[in-house]
Symmetry: C2
Subunit: 394 residues, 2 copies
C-alpha cells in the first residue's frame, strides 16, 4: 500500500481532449495553503499555463491546488490562450472550494491550438464529483499521453522531528497526438517547510534529475515541475539536518522519476548513463554529455546494440568542450575502449557485445582536463520514435 | 558532354575496402603544381588524413594530386594511423610520378580501425594503370559509400581574359558500413589563380554551401574539401572582376553539390530550406536555423508531411537566439503561419498540406530583432535513417 502524504486529495475527469473514455483532467487539492515552488521550461516561447504559474508564484509562494490537462498544450496561443487558462482556474477552483489564485495549472499536447473550453466546462462537475474519490495514481494516469506506463513514486522520510512522506508523479516523452515530448511533474509532501527552503530543495533536485536527461534534445514550451508542501504531518523541517534529509529524499525521488521518463521515451529501448568527468568545469562536462546524448548516430547505434564507439568520440570532438584529444579515456560497460588517441588493442566488438544488449548502458568519459563532472540519462533513437512523431495527422 | 577543366587526369582502383568489385580508391593528378586550398572539420578528433593535409598545406599551398579512399576513415588511429596515411602518399605518388609531399589525402569510413595497408599496396599498380583512362565521374563514384548517386558538377566561366572551367565532386551522408556521415569534396579549376586568392574563394564558397547544411548535426572527424587551380587554361585570374566571377562560379557549384548531399541524405525524403532573417547577428540566425534543422521533432514532421509548425517555433524558442517572441513571423511554403504570438486564423492544415508534400519545403522565419540572416539546408529524419545507422554490424 502506498503511503500518500497527508492532507491531499485527488480528482480526475474525461473532457474528451484525448479521445473517449480517457481521463485528461487531473486535480490535486491540499487541505491547507501549501508552500509552493516550480521550475519551468527555458524555451523563449512559454505556454499560457507556464506564464500563469509564474505570475501566481511571484505574487505568493503558496498554493492550494495543482491542475493538469493532457491533450492540449495551450502554447503559442496568445492572449486568447492566457484568458482560457485563467478561465480553467475559475472552473477548477469552484469545484475544489478554493480561490483561482491558489490553483497552479500545467498542460501538455498540441502546440498552437486553442483550448476546447466547451469540453472543459462540461467536464468540470465530473472533476468536482471525483474529488476525494480518485487516487494519486489516477492523476498520474490522467497526465499521460503516449507514455506507456504512469510514473509515480512515494517515499517515507524519517526526520529528527518525525516521519514525513514525499510523493512525485510525472509524465514523459509522448502524446496520443504526438507534438512536444513535454515533461510535467508534481511533487507533494506533508512536511512543514517554508516556501523559500522548499524552493531550494526543488531546484537542487530538478538540476540532478529532470534537468539531466534527454530524449530528443527538444525542450518543450510547457515543461513544468510543481511542488507543494502542506505541513499536514505536523513535522517542522527547518534545521539543517532535516532540510538535508528532505532534500536528499526529494532528489532521489525525482531521479527515480527521471529514470522512468527515459525508460519510457518515445520508441525507446535503452537508457544510456553518460558520465563525463575530468572536464574543465561542470558546464563543459554537461556540454560534452549532451552532444553525445543527442547525437542521432550515437542513439541509433545504441538502438542497434552496436558498440560503434567512434561515434561517441566524434560527438565529444564536436561538442565544443575544451580538452586534449590525447588525454581522453572512454569506457563502455566498464571496458576500456579508447585512450591516448587510439583504440584499446583488445577485441572490442567481442568485449562490448554483452553490455550493448542490456537496457542500461554505462558510458564513462574522462576528459583529463579538470574536475568538472556531469551525468546525463539519454534514450536511444528507434524506428518507432520516427513512426510516433511522423505519423501524426496522417 | 562534360567540359572538364584542362590539365587534370583521373584514376580509380578497387582495393576491397567496400567489398568486391567496387572502386574505393580515387586519384586526381594535375599536369603541373596547382594552387591548393582546403577546408577541414572542426571536430577536436581529426582523422590522420586531415592532419596530414593541414601539415602539407601549411608548408606549401601547392599540390599535384588529390587522393581519396572510401570504406576506411583512418580516424582515432593514433601514430600508426598517421604512418599509414603517409605510406599511402608514397604509394600514390610513385604511380602518379609526383612526390609524396604533393599529394593531399582524404578518407571516409569506419572510425577507429587501422587502414588495411596490404590491400592498399596490392591495389596501387591498378591505380597507376588507370591513370588517364578513368574519368572525373569514376572518381566521384569511388568516393561514394551509402550515397545513392554520385555528386559531380561542372561549370564554364567566361572571364575577361577568357574561358575557364570549374569542376566539383563530393560525397555526402552514408556508408556501406555506416559510421560517420562524412562530407568529402574536391573542386578543380584550370584558371590561373594565386594560392592566397584561391583559398579565399574556397572559404567564401564553403561557408555558403557545405557549412550551411545539416543531415544529423554530427560533424565528422574526416570532413574535408580540397581545391586545386592548375592554370592550364592560360587564363590569369588576378583582377577584382575576374576573381569575383570565379568566386561566384565556385560558390554556385558548391551550393549545387550541397543541395545534392541533402537530397541524398541517409534515408532522406525532403530538403528543408530554413531561412532565418531579422536576427541580431548572422551568428544568431545560424544558431536558430541549426536548432530547427537538427530538431528530431521538426525532422520527423517533415518526413511525415505533417504541417506541425509548433515544433519549428518550439525549436526556435530553445535555440538560444535572442528575440521577442511577439515579433516572430513564420511562413511555410509562403503561407503565413504564426505572428504576434499566435497562429494565423486561416485553416492552416488545409493551406499547408500541399507544400508539405513537395521534396523542397521552404521555412521562413523573421525574428524581428535585427538584420542577421542565415539559410540552412536540412534533411528530414526517416525510419530508413534509423535502419541504416542501427543495423551496422548486426
Amino acid at each position: 500500500m502506498t503511503i500518500v502524504p497527508k492532507g491531499y486529495s485527488f480528482a480526475v475527469a474525461a473532457a474528451g481532449f484525448k479521445g473517449p473514455g480517457r481521463n485528461d483532467l487531473g486535480l490535486v487539492v491540499s487541505q491547507s495553503p501549501a508552500s509552493a515552488a516550480g521550475v519551468f521550461t527555458t524555451n523563449r516561447f512559454q505556454a499560457a499555463p507556464v506564464l500563469v504559474c509564474k505570475e501566481i508564484l511571484a505574487k505568493r509562494p503558496l498554493a492550494r491546488a495543482l491542475l493538469v490537462n493532457s491533450g492540449q498544450a495551450n502554447a503559442c496561443t496568445g492572449e486568447e490562450g492566457l484568458a482560457n487558462c485563467r478561465a480553467t482556474l475559475e472552473l477548477a477552483a469552484a469545484q475544489a472550494g478554493v480561490t483561482p489564485g491558489e490553483v497552479l495549472p500545467v498542460s501538455t499536447g498540441v502546440i498552437g491550438a486553442q483550448l476546447k473550453m466547451d469540453k472543459w466546462a462540461a467536464a468540470a462537475p465530473q472533476l468536482g464529483a471525483s474529488l476525494g474519490k480518485a487516487t494519486a495514481m489516477d492523476v498520474a494516469k490522467a497526465m499521460m499521453t503516449t507514455d506507456t506506463f504512469p510514473k509515480l513514486s512515494v517515499k517515507s522520510v524519517a526526520l529528527p522531528g518525525g516521519e514525513v512522506r514525499v510523493l512525485g508523479m510525472c509524465k514523459g516523452a509522448g502524446m496520443i497526438s504526438p507534438t512536444m515530448a513535454t515533461l510535467l511533474g508534481f511533487v507533494l509532501t506533508d512536511a512543514d517547510v517554508s516556501p523559500a527552503a522548499w524552493r531550494d530543495i526543488l531546484l537542487h533536485a530538478a538540476d540532478r534529475s529532470f534537468n539531466a536527461l534527454t530524449v530528443d534534445g527538444d525542450t518543450s514550451t510547457n515543461d513544468t515541475v510543481l511542488a507543494l508542501a502542506n505541513g499536514a504531518s505536523g513535522v517542522a523541517v527547518a534545521d539543517a539536518k532535516s532540510l538535508r534529509l528532505l532534500r536528499d529524499a526529494v532528489t532521489g525521488l525525482c531521479q527515480e522519476l527521471s529514470y522512468r521518463i527515459v525508460q519510457d521515451a518515445e520508441g525507446g529501448t535503452k537508457v544510456a548513463h553518460i558520465a563525463v568527468t575530468g572536464a574543465k568545469s561542470a558546464a563543459q562536462a554537461e556540454v560534452a554529455a549532451r552532444a553525445i546524448g543527442t547525437s542521432p548516430l550515437v542513439k541509433t547505434a545504441l538502438f542497434g546494440c552496436d558498440p560503434n564507439w567512434g561515434r561517441i568520440v566524434a560527438a565529444l570532438g564536436r561538442s565544443g568542450a575544451d580538452f586534449d584529444p590525447m588525454a581522453v579515456v572512454l569506457k563502455i560497460g566498464g571496458v576500456l575502449v579508447f585512450e591516448k588517441g587510439q583504440p584499446s588493442p583488445e577485441d572490442l566488438d567481442a568485449l562490448l557485445a554483452p553490455c550493448m544488449r542490456h537496457q542500461d548502458v554505462e558510458i564513462e568519459l574522462d576528459l583529463g582536463a579538470g574536475r568538472g563532472a556531469f551525468t546525463l540519462l539519454a534514450s536511444d533513437l528507434s524506428k518507432r520514435y520516427v513512426e510516433i512523431n511522423a505519423d501524426y495527422r496522417s
